[in-house]
């Protein structure tokens, strides 16, 4: 017996015809509707479109898969082109909120022009819904049911055929635009200096904290009494600061103060080394170039602007100070290390309260997701160590692999990185703010895993 079913909404109608179950027993006839078990044809009309979509079971399955996948992607991630390279029905988002349904003929798909129907969101909804009505109808094709799986960015991307990857350019969705550019085979444009800068700087900083090393040994102090720049006579009456915590905190502060003020692009080709004296409140009391080169390019460094000048004139009245070696490198990287190279910096104090740490995990994860808009282009997990203050500020980070350094620019850490929050100035004393350390893993699927650093070590 031929069974005909019609599912309709104002914008779309789906008509299926088929045969009922030849083996059904008489008991099931209590239902007035017979079961459509073998599909013969399916026909779909979208209101206002001259072309009807029609075909057999293959067509219906394709239609179901294409509309269903597209809808989930639309609901979940905004408008993302989800295509399987082998499917002959695909949907792609268009500008202006439209959705283009492309239908290739499966037989001679290469030669014939695909049929294209542009749907409004309302028409798309009606199309999806007639499909869903059919799927939820237990008396029509009982073996076809709605089968939804959560999607993620990686799946969506991987299903796009390469030729389609340029298509999102037309979408006007900025995140897709970024993804499309990232995927294009063009050579990567020149690396932005600040980014590289930050990576190196942090590696150096964290390295220096962990192991004050020999390769960083400063040149012999070369006092140069004639230097006009030096504002402070390093008299014997001035005692050097000994407190390792304070020394570390001052170094941080100095680093970030100079780093922030150093905004010009270097024109010098050799590294410029300066010996900088800092009071216990963190003020830069004096500095002197360590080479002729450094003297020559003094204008390019922000040191003279940062120098603390006592209000009443003359020289600052200091009791104790610390000396640091500040290196401006020609590639834009700044290094700050203890001048004598021997004072061992202490470790940053740790947050120990478990509840705080637990809450921070949350906060950091949220903030990272908040910032992360780029579609991952890396294909393996990227691990980082993060140090986070109680206020949720990321004050240190460290890529835990080469790959992690390479893809650093893709990740949302840099915009959240706020090293200045790592020190606190209270009563003219600089202290290091306690931090909690986390291991954060960015996965190619676009997820972020975060856990306590020592918990997974």
């Amino acid at each position: 017996m031929v069974v005909r079913r019609k599912y309709s909404l104002p914008g779309c109608t789906l008509v299926v015809e088929g045969l009922d179950d030849p083996n059904r027993d008489s008991q099931s006839q209590q239902s007035t509707r017979s079961r459509l078990c073998v599909l013969v044809s399916a026909e779909c009309h979208v209101l206002g479109k001259p072309d009807a979509l029609a075909g057999g079971l293959d067509f219906l399955d394709e239609l179901v898969a294409a509309t269903s996948d597209y809808t989930q992607s639309f609901l979940g991630m905004g408008k993302v082109a989800v295509q399987s390279p082998h499917s002959w029905i695909t949907l792609t988002p268009l500008e202006g909120g439209l959705h283009r349904l492309n239908l290739r003929s499966p037989q001679n798909g290469t030669t014939s022009e695909p049929l294209q129907i542009d749907l409004t969101t309302l028409q798309l909804f009606d199309l999806v819904d007639v499909v869903d009505q059919l799927l939820s109808d237990r008396l029509t094709l009982p073996d076809r049911q709605l089968n939804l799986l959560p999607r993620n960015r990686r799946q969506a991307k991987n299903e796009e055929p390469v030729s389609q990857r340029a298509a999102p350019l037309a979408l006007g969705v900025s995140s897709l635009l970024v993804a499309a550019i990232a995927l294009s085979p063009l050579p990567v444009p020149e690396v932005e200096q600040p980014r590289e800068n930050v990576i190196e700087e942090t590696e150096e900083l964290s390295e220096a904290i962990a192991t004050p090393t020999a390769n960083d040994s400063p040149p012999e102090p070369s006092p140069n009494p004639q230097t006009g720049e030096s504002q402070v006579e390093l008299a014997d009456t001035v005692t050097p600061i000994q407190d390792p915590d304070l020394l570390a905190a001052l170094r941080y502060k100095l680093y970030h103060e100079i780093d922030e003020a150093w905004t010009t692009v270097p024109t010098f080709e050799d590294d410029l080394v300066y010996r900088v004296s800092v009071g216990e409140d963190g003020a830069i009391l004096g500095y002197r170039p360590d080479s002729d080169r450094a003297r020559e390019f003094d204008d390019e460094t922000p040191l003279s602007n940062l120098l603390y000048l006592p209000v009443e004139g003359g020289t600052a009245d200091v009791e104790s100070l610390a000396e640091y070696k500040v290196v401006f490198r020609s590639n834009g990287v700044l290094q700050v290390s203890p001048w004598d190279g021997s004072s061992r910096p202490s470790r940053t104090p740790r947050i120990t309260d478990v509840a705080t740490i637990d809450q921070l995990i949350f906060e950091v994860r949220d903030a990272l997701y908040d910032q992360w808009e780029e579609t991952p282009v890396f294909d393996r997990n990227l691990d980082y160590r993060l140090a986070v203050t109680e206020a949720g500020e990321i004050t240190q980070y460290e890529p835990l692999s080469d790959v992690a350094s390479v893809y650093f620019g893709e990740l949302p850490i840099e915009p959240l990185y706020n090293p200045a929050a790592g020190v606190e100035i209270q009563d003219d004393r600089v202290t290091l703010v306690p931090v909690a350390e986390f291991r954060v893993v960015f996965t190619p699927r676009g997820t972020i895993q975060i856990g306590p650093w020592d918990g997974r070590r």
Binding site: Y7, G97, F125, P150, Q359, Y369, G446
Partner: protein, 202 residues
């Protein structure tokens, strides 16, 4: 001719909730995106219907979901798991709570089906004619209410909020939510919306 999906019938708490498959979540509860999305959908519902927030509670009672959504304060607390909110609380959103919000959103959307269809159609037509979205009076009311709700409740210091710093951007978000609400009204809208809240972020 048209078959009715099971969820259009009055269902008990368990059958509605059972209909939603369990999704992978950590002990920190649902992902950030889930929390943001659920709250924004409710915000859009409130902009469509001024009595929306009362309806959330009354619907919860009607559907016997009040073991999860017992009173106004609970609703407020749960919605404040949205990290974009000014009063955001670092409290996890459990899967059960997310399911209940999902059910409420879809039920309310369904009750506004005609309005949603009309507004979506209007928005589309205005876009096609390159006219501003507030040319249509009802759409204009919705958009301006949505902007007001959003600005008064979301924390402008969060970068997730900063991206909506103009009327135009907020209007686009509001229209996007209208479209999503439309899909919630469908035969399988409940399941579709629920599954879409999880995209593999665990």
């Amino acid at each position: 001719m048209v078959s009715n999906p099971p969820q259009t019938h009055d269902s008990t708490l368990t059958s509605l909730q059972q209909q939603l498959p369990d999704m992978p979540v950590t002990h920190h509860g649902c992902s950030r995106r889930t929390r943001v999305q659920l709250d924004l959908m409710l915000l859009a519902i409130e902009a469509l219907d001024l009595s929306g927030s009362e309806k959330i509670l009354s619907l919860a009672h009607q559907l016997e979901l009040n073991s999860v959504l017992s009173d106004r304060v609970t609703v407020w607390r749960i919605r404040n798991t949205n990290p974009l909110r000014r009063a955001s609380r670092r409290r996890p959103l459990s899967q059960e709570e997310a399911k209940v919000l999902t059910i409420i959103i879809c039920k309310l959307a369904r009750s506004m089906m005609l309005q949603l269809r009309r507004l979506n159609q209007e928005a589309q037509q205005l876009r096609e004619q390159n006219l501003p979205l507030d040319k249509h009076p009802q759409l204009a009311v919705y958009l301006s209410r949505f902007r007001t709700h959003f600005r008064s409740r979301m924390n402008p210091r969060r970068s997730g909020v900063m991206v909506y710093d103009t009327d135009e951007k907020l209007d686009n978000l509001a229209v996007e939510l209208l479209e999503k609400l439309l899909f919630c009204t469908g035969t399988a809208g409940l399941t579709r919306f629920w599954v879409s809240l999880f995209d593999g972020e665990v």
